[in-house]
Amino acid sequence: MLERSWPAEGVTRVPYWVYQDEDVYREEQERIFRGPAWSYLCLEAELPEPKSFVTTFVGDMPVVVTRDAKGALHAWENRCAHRGALVCMQPRGTAERFTCIYHNWTYDHAGNLASVAFRKGIAGKGGMPAGARPESQAPKQLRVSSINGLVFGTLSTQVPALEAYIGPEILPRIGRVLKKPLRVLGAYTQVLPNNWKLYMDNVKDTYHASLLHLFFTRFRINRLTQKGGVFVSPDGAHHCTYTEIVDDQGDAYEKNGMRSAGSQGFALESPEVLDQVDELGDGVSIQILSLFPGFVLHQIRNSLAARQVVPKGVGRTELHWTLFGFADDDEAMTKRRLLQANLVGPAGYISMEDGAATGFVQRGIAGSRDRASVIEMGGAAIGSGDSRITETAVRGLWKAWRQYMQV
């Protein structure tokens, strides 16, 4: 149990110890990642055929996700029942079964212990006693569920079904993007020098997007003056924000003298990097969606990606990006997606700053465990709306986090 008190202001303040304390980190692993929450594991497209597998993480816990011979999905802790070694070393592939290299204990696709080497000894000598029950320490098996090709898992038997966990506000926004079978274009990892929650509240922070990411503003891709909005689930856990395709000719940024205002004569020589085809047919140019605790789905023009947030200690986070298109994309669409890959990832025109900004927070707060960040744009409300000059979704994150952490 955490011995902590939250600032009296409630959800408009987030105390900095949440990003700094080892015991908070450990408690989160138990209460959130191994608790009643669904964590993103991988794409179904990464398990294209029977007997294929990928390795992934749920918080700190290493996990193997498999498709068995009959096509069913499974996920289980990547830990041998015997001495705790990783069972599966490869990041992906196909396998008939999984054999721990240490002492050759083997597992089936569901993570059941199938055999123990020399269990009965040899010629009546050695081996385990008849009453031994090594299965009692078998890898934990996760509940698995998938939506529109996204695979999630949880150790919890209590958490509701995935669809109910996500809820009716956010669920349709996933189906809006993932309409068809997916084709993986590639993956990479961005290592962030900060606590995992700083990345999540950055993602949910609709207020920062056009102020930090100047590329957006300079080229009028996303200004807060453009039409858009935000959805937040009632428990605060999940969010979705979107911006419509419009040609913004306003000058609100210039009138306010903002750093992100367009500079005269600054234009792209090769604007095809931004050319969007309205493939989803609803005039939305950007949609960023997050699910608690650590999943992000983005549509930025024709760039589509899943981002998995993997905590690696109090002050370090890995962001596993998987970019994809649809299986039926033609050559021109694939090329468009690859050009628009320039917008995202560690070298992304509109995403590279996130790692810098969240890292700056981690460094800035080093001497102020006793202080809190001010999250008061849009008041204290948590809910959906049509303004993005709000921190409503950030407050949602903290509402949900406090519920899980009982603090």
């Binding site: 590639g186 020098p193 792209l268 560690p346």
Partner: protein
């Protein structure tokens, strides 16, 4: 002749690296032909046959856009690179073109002095020799799929 070719390619690699390390980003597109391609990839994606770039530019215009954005739009902590390029292999192809493969290490030096090994990998190049050696294609295959914080300056 073979030695001259080797020297010409190594000189191009060296000049390219010095330009980036000395923050002469505006010179960077000029190491490419007008329609030259530049792509940062990872060894993992290449091995899986996946086309995703970390950074991709087709032609000097897109490269100039990248430099403009780094200078005027993107925000990142001041940093420098130091390139080490070695093991340059040159293979003539045809009609004034060669292929080159070279190893690189890039150290990243932050404003506070923190120096880390930021990237390692191979440059896989197609080079046009006349009138002066220029990259027609430069593929930067990073050994690791991981990038620390951000990749602003090209490799």
């Amino acid at each position: 002749m073979e030695i001259e070719l080797q020297l010409a390619v190594e000189r191009l690699h060296a000049q390219y690296a010095h330009a980036l390390d000395a923050d002469r980003l505006e010179d960077w597109p000029n190491f490419f032909t007008e329609n030259g391609r530049y792509r940062i990839a990872t060894a993992e994606n290449e091995a899986r046959g996946l086309p995703l770039p970390v950074l991709y530019a087709e032609g000097r215009g897109m490269m100039r856009d990248r430099v403009q954005s780094l200078r005027h739009a993107n925000i990142y902590e001041p940093q420098r690179y130091r390139h080490m390029v070695s093991g340059v292999i040159v293979e003539p192809v045809s009609d004034g073109r060669v292929r080159s493969s070279a190893n690189f290490l890039v150290l990243r030096i932050m404003q506070g002095g923190d120096t880390t090994l930021f990237a390692s990998g191979r440059y896989l190049d197609r080079i046009v020799l006349a009138p002066e050696p220029l990259y027609e294609e430069r593929v930067v295959v990073c050994d690791s799929r991981r990038f620390d914080t951000l990749l602003a300056i090209p490799l």
